[in-house]
Symmetry: D2
Subunit: 141 residues, 4 copies
């Protein structure tokens, strides 16, 4: 199991393919079955009270597994999320970035499955947990 | 089972409690166990190719059940999502609003559960399906 | 959209392919995008107190979508569940069969997605709600 | 965080509260936030081809989090599953027990959340992954 794209290559790909959101994320670690990505929390991600919104946490979990798949397969812009189950367990700390630790559990020919733990920076409490399935387009499509 | 807040009351509440996103949504129908809400699709919701992003569909499903709970309980700003499972089944049509039909399946003392079907306006194909659980704060909290 | 197998054909298939469990289920209605199946509740399905166990409700939801897929595709014994999200909302009534109403939301080339509402016979309260994804083997495999 | 019940106490509780299924499971490890439980695979758990059925894997994941909650709270027979999301990723190996590793991510006053990885004995490939939410009855009820 080799990594086809490192953090820099992944960030370059994100900037080109998803320019609207690429600046929200910073990739911290890339391994064959594990990837850590940070949400650089900004005003647009917040709800009243300063806590990060649910959709922003969903987006972070989603990008985490997407990047973990890309890291292994190389640039496959067309991989699409088919399912996400997410549990919101604690309120994120106000004014902190969120750190998502993504784990690739299966990388099949057709489907990839992974899960994600999200924590506020500097805390070991899990704020949210998600599992996601990605559908991988046939090679050459 | 009576409706405590109608479409106008719900939109007023949303505008006050969530000013950042209230303008994205328009409430179309409110019944005791069913609510229809529209995502007024804008540039910020789109991915390359003009299709609505996953996080935007998550946000729409989330607000759909939130509003369905509020419609029954009255303004309970503190109700929080504890779980969402969402299936993305088809690509939304470019340039169309999304219409979410939320169904309240349980409104208990502690938890509310509902599901949502999302379609592109004018189409009967289901683009995404979600189920959500909300935790309801104890009265007086 | 035509139905390839009716209730009798589906029950015959189940009896042959899954003899251990086929007797637990009776198919009540078959349409192109909707199927109703009954769990004939027996001692082995019960928990103390006489309520149907979670795994038995999971099995009922699972067979509901499986049969809804078969009804459309004909006998595809190899279709496999890849994901299930299930919400348990109320205690089933003791001593009653369970009725599952399955709805096929997508029948693609590779994946099928549907959801299921489970009620105790004679009640309109939803006991459990599930959504399932099935992976469909390529034709000829 | 202390463990209130060890493996022996948990097995004793299971035998008394759930005599129909207690013999299917053997508890291997108990820690404050982690529990390992084995499904002693028998004919009743199998599908044609000798692979463990989906409902049996659901039951294993479900009991894993239930026991992890009990280990911390002591005997709370009334804790009930409110949600499970499960991904089936690979076929279990025929003729092998299944080993479930449960992880408690949140143990709140009202809800507990955990996830589970299931593997065939002696393999490091994940066969299934599940996340579950349990509702905890108020003390004294």
């Amino acid at each position: 199991m080799t990594v086809e794209m490192d953090a820099q290559a992944l960030e370059g790909f994100l900037a080109e393919a998803f320019p609207q959101v690429a600046g929200d994320f910073r990739i911290e670690e890339v391994e064959a079955e594990r990837l850590v990505v940070r949400l650089i929390t900004q005003g647009k991600h917040l709800r009243p009270g300063g806590t990060v919104s649910g959709p922003s946490m969903f987006a972070l979990a989603d990008v985490g597994i997407y990047l973990a798949v890309l890291a292994r397969l190389g640039p496959v812009a067309l991989a699409v999320t088919t399912n996400c189950s997410i549990d919101f367990m604690r309120k994120p700390e106000a004014g902190k970035d969120l750190i998502a630790e993504a784990r690739l559990l299966k990388l099949g020919r057709v489907l990839a499955v992974g899960d994600v733990l999200i924590r506020s920076e500097g805390s070991d409490k899990v704020v949210a947990r998600a599992s996601l399935t990605y559908s991988i387009p046939p090679a050459g499509s």
